[in-house]
Symmetry: C2
Subunit: 299 residues, 2 copies
């Protein structure tokens, strides 16, 4: 077990490290809750050297993506601006006390008009493109902040962020609807019906949310049904607004199964059959692509 | 100072009591934070008798509206169902240990399809109608959960609730947008522009929210501007969805100045000049109307 280098997906609430061998094999994987939200910029160095002490005896290079490169992160890696190459040539080096170690941070991508930003998803996109060279179309990356990105000729042409995941969490967990929304469970029909409503009339979203609470009070509607209905209303509204992205395009999803499933269902109902790949795998593939680019530049 | 009876506006987070004299004059007013959220149903009686001990030496009747009549309140006052008379003939009596005291609770109103409920607003509507007999049109009651109610021939024909106020609070205070939204301050132009956007294209709301965060990161947009823009996006979407209510109707607002102002601006931009009356005054007027009805029934 002799890692050549270390890959890191350093996000808002946690971090994942991989030890990578000479041929790109993953030799080990670790996660911790030391995400950006719990760290001052001076603390990243210690988290890395403590978490990966054994790996760092051999490895001298780290390539990291995610919020680690934000202004509140370890070192600011200034955004690339769309349209821009998927695989970044301008990584930024983070300050470290460990001699002989170089930490490269992958920059995020921003868009000027309409204003938008991503950090972390660009690496998943790069991973997808590394595995699917020459792919053209639209990538949907569902999550807390779902991203839709138009990809052409290995560039991110444009993208748009939807707060659907965060809205669901706030409405189901913090708003008056929390009394009527189950913590888990699903109802396909309720999801589909609600999604159809906001897909057809997205302007009705604002009017339909309180109805979920009222449905329980007036009709004693099951809270699992209402959970699926809330998800359907929000995803239907997102799909309606994201129509310029998916309409008539080649669409693929990058996401974990649970968050991707309702998007796959929704897109299928619109006649869009989207392939789905795993987000974690794409992140690692993207960091590997960035590392490979680094080797090319250094040669 | 000899109160004849006591009026109570007993809501989710606080309660307001008024001592009412023989001729309807307000002799005193008190508020406390003993709202439904902090009380078990057995505790309301003690709150009332302690808060109003001096008034209760003379007064033998209390008329209360609001969440005090919900299933989680003092006593459940079953909803009236639309279409229904604005002033309720079926009040419910709450259990009290104090002999000689009768506590009447005003029921809320529910609608079967689409499901909706109100508790407290029906009393403000009754107060408005008591002061404006025979008024026909649409009442808008802005707040955490804004209500739009179609009123005709002294009946609530239909109504619709929008979670706009709560959405603003959650997005500005709890979501990723909190980093970019000022706690206070206003920008008329930003509000108007944003409202026009979602009024014209309400389906774009889902796509525009994250843009507020991105505008600060990409363009360093002022957080006060972004606060007004968030309000504009949400109210524009509400006004678009509430169009069947305000279009071609006589519209009046019942609300506090601060929450009513953006609605007045928005409606004015649509050619609707809505009069605005104070919510607290309408609540008291509505409780007085319910008390008067009680006297009529008792005679």
């Amino acid at each position: 077990m002799t890692p050549e280098w270390i890959a890191a997906d350093w996000g808002t609430s946690n971090v994942r490290f991989w030890a990578i061998g000479a041929d790109g094999t993953v030799l080990g994987e670790r996660t911790s809750a030391d995400g950006m939200n719990s760290l001052a910029s001076s603390e990243y160095d210690a988290v890395l050297t403590q978490s990966c002490a054994d790996w760092l005896k051999k490895a001298a290079t780290v390539v990291a993506c995610g919020m680690v490169g934000s202004r509140q992160g370890w070192v600011e890696a200034p955004y690339q601006t769309t349209p821009c190459a998927v695989c970044p040539s301008r990584m930024v080096t983070a300050p470290t006390l460990r001699s002989g170690l170089t930490v490269h941070v992958i920059p995020g991508i921003r868009q000027t008009d309409p204003a938008d930003v991503m950090r972390g998803e660009e690496t998943q996109i790069a991973g997808f493109l590394a595995q699917n060279p020459g792919w053209d179309g639209v990538l949907c990356l569902p999550g807390t902040h779902t991203k839709w990105a138009h990809i052409s000729a290995n560039e991110v042409i444009s993208f748009q962020t939807f707060m659907t995941g965060e809205m669901f969490a706030l409405l189901a967990g913090q708003s008056v609807l929390r009394h009527s929304i189950a913590d888990s469970g699903w109802d396909d029909d309720a999801f589909g019906d609600a999604m159809s409503q906001t897909l057809a009339r997205p302007e009705g979203l604002a009017a339909r949310l309180f109805s979920l609470r009222a449905a329980q009070l007036v009709h004693n509607t099951d809270t699992i049904t209402l959970r699926a209905r809330l998800s359907g209303l929000l995803i239907g509204a997102e799909l309606a607004a994201a129509k310029p992205y998916w309409l008539g395009r080649n669409v693929a999803l990058i996401g974990a199964d649970a968050v991707s499933a309702p998007y796959i269902t929704g897109l299928a109902s619109l006649g869009v059959n989207a392939a789905c790949v795993d987000a974690k795998e794409m992140t690692l593939a993207g960091i590997k692509a960035a590392h490979a680019l680094l080797e090319t530049i250094n040669q």
